[in-house]
Symmetry: C4
């Protein structure tokens, strides 16, 4: 089967998740600066999750661009990834509303970790579906960034019960690692075959 409907469906789900998170930005009760300031925490969590969903969509886009066919297994691996991404708005809202409390902060990292693992599974099933020697396999390399991200999420989950600010810093750090120095890191670290 071609990849078009898989792409369209994933685009739809991620587009809705990104916009559903905005619904958590409820209008404050007043109309002065303190009212606006009270949203700062929820807004920061929204920006972080927007960037994370953007990273996933971006990588998903790149990965499927070099694929030519999907199988039933790939469809389910993709739905599995979308399932964990669909929990991002909930985890974002809980973490934002509860002032970075330990459990919500750990849960946020747990959802990110599961999404990272689901992405890894999707990648593996896609490579199998393309057959041996596909351009996808060559393009992805050893996927150092994907693996290290999952490890950092795991550490952040554990550290959430020590100091949630460290966990939050790790979440921001992983996002920046994917976002900012994409090409240099990819060359130096991302593909160290």
């Amino acid at each position: 089967m071609p990849t078009t409907r898989l792409e369209a469906f994933s685009d739809g789900v991620v587009a809705i998740l990104i916009t559903i998170m905005v619904l958590e930005l409820k209008t404050p009760e007043g109309h002065d600066w303190p009212a606006l300031h009270s949203l700062a925490r929820v807004f920061s969590a929204y920006v972080l999750s927007f960037v994370y969903l953007g990273i996933y969509w971006n990588n998903h886009h790149h990965m499927l661009h070099v694929c030519t066919r999907v199988t039933g297994t790939v469809l389910w691996a993709n739905l599995h990834l979308l399932f964990w991404l669909s929990l991002v708005p909930f985890a974002t809202a809980w973490m934002g509303e509860e002032h970075l409390a330990p459990l919500p902060t750990a849960l946020y990292g747990g959802v990110l970790m599961m999404a990272g693992i689901a992405y890894f599974i999707l990648k593996t099933t896609l490579i199998t579906a393309q057959g041996p020697g596909s351009p996808l396999e060559a393009a992805l390399g050893s996927d150092f960034k994907g693996k290290i991200s999952v490890v950092i999420y795991l550490i952040a989950v554990a550290l959430s019960f020590v100091d949630t600010r460290i966990a939050a810093a790790l979440y921001v750090g992983v996002a920046l690692m994917w976002l900012v120095p994409d090409r240099r890191i990819e060359r130096e670290l991302g593909n160290p075959k």
Copy 2:
């Protein structure tokens, strides 16, 4: 008419339904384990319905992949299916919030049953639209799984008023039947011509 817009529209509706269900996962009041645990029931219902909508999307994808043209009747049969699927989030939320009470549990099964029947109607109109001897007709066979699912839903609706745990087990069972042993069952039971 080609199938592209029918696919795109169905993808859109299912993508939104899947994500709208997450909105039912309201952030709990506290930030400790009991607060998280209070979501367990609603979360379980969400996972089950996510899998069901995933199964429908997956089967819809497979079915339309071997179709080349749609008619006005097919468009309405598809909207009819989407109508029943659109009630899944409501039925899921009611069943989850009301602790598997008899009527909500029966209603959930009723919605699944109607969606199953609507899928059967859609399949029939699609076969008619393709004309005789189409690959779709050959690919679908006698559709044993589709028919037995509707029968099981009906039994589960009746048993909801005896013991809702049996009904819930049947809903999980049907989902697993579609999900797990797809190929073997398809060969041994699904196409017993």
Copy 3:
């Protein structure tokens, strides 16, 4: 410009409107038959509006199928139609919640009437965009059904302040006129050139 993005965008908006209406089906407080019955009115309004949006999507699909190009004017005429359709969920909820009170019932008809007029404008701009002698112009004929619908909506709005049941019956009647005997009416009334 080709018609693909216009179709995709319209599909997206209608798909979301259809599913957003389900959010109005709030889970009732109890879990017995009276609790379910209390939803009957809102549910009926939902079914009617689902059918109306389905009719619009269906006709939109047919109309654009015979178009090959769109202009900037067509894009805005299409957005104008989507604007009035976007008010259908609000009008549906208000009419359903307020027990068919006169003003909400009249507003529902007013929104349908404006959507009908917007569809007429879109059709006109599309015919202009295709140039003279296009298949679209030939396919649409005199559009008797479109014109009579707008007239009936206008009558229903006026009768809402006399007896809302007559208005509701007219809304159902117009939907049935589009839905049920599509081919016969089209031949006998719809294209009386």
Copy 4:
């Protein structure tokens, strides 16, 4: 990479934002004219934001129509634009609910200004991605309207703290500038190379 998925994803996000704004139109408590009238302010803000999102979608559509390829940088510039557009429903609701209070009115202008700047950045990255001498570069000209809009937004933000009605008039004015006399202004002002 081709532009299809970027277009589909943007269509999805804008379609959802447009329809999410309707959710702010909560059904009033009564069913008489005063109840309907109480929605006037929120409804006016909705119409204005609908037009703004329509303008962005329309321009986005035109701009990508003459593009043939996108890069990773373009994907992120597009997500950046979608981020600011995603804040339009929140800003609309706050301004509408708080009776055009100074801070919400200024915030609305700030979001529009950031969206304008993000659109400018997207345009620049798209021109770079197409390579020198592309039809996109020729088509866009000096983009006088885009630049003057950002300046007017900035003035409106400042004037929000003097008289919010002037700011509101400026928001309406910019929308009309883009909406109404598209061709003439484009010829006389928009491309004064």
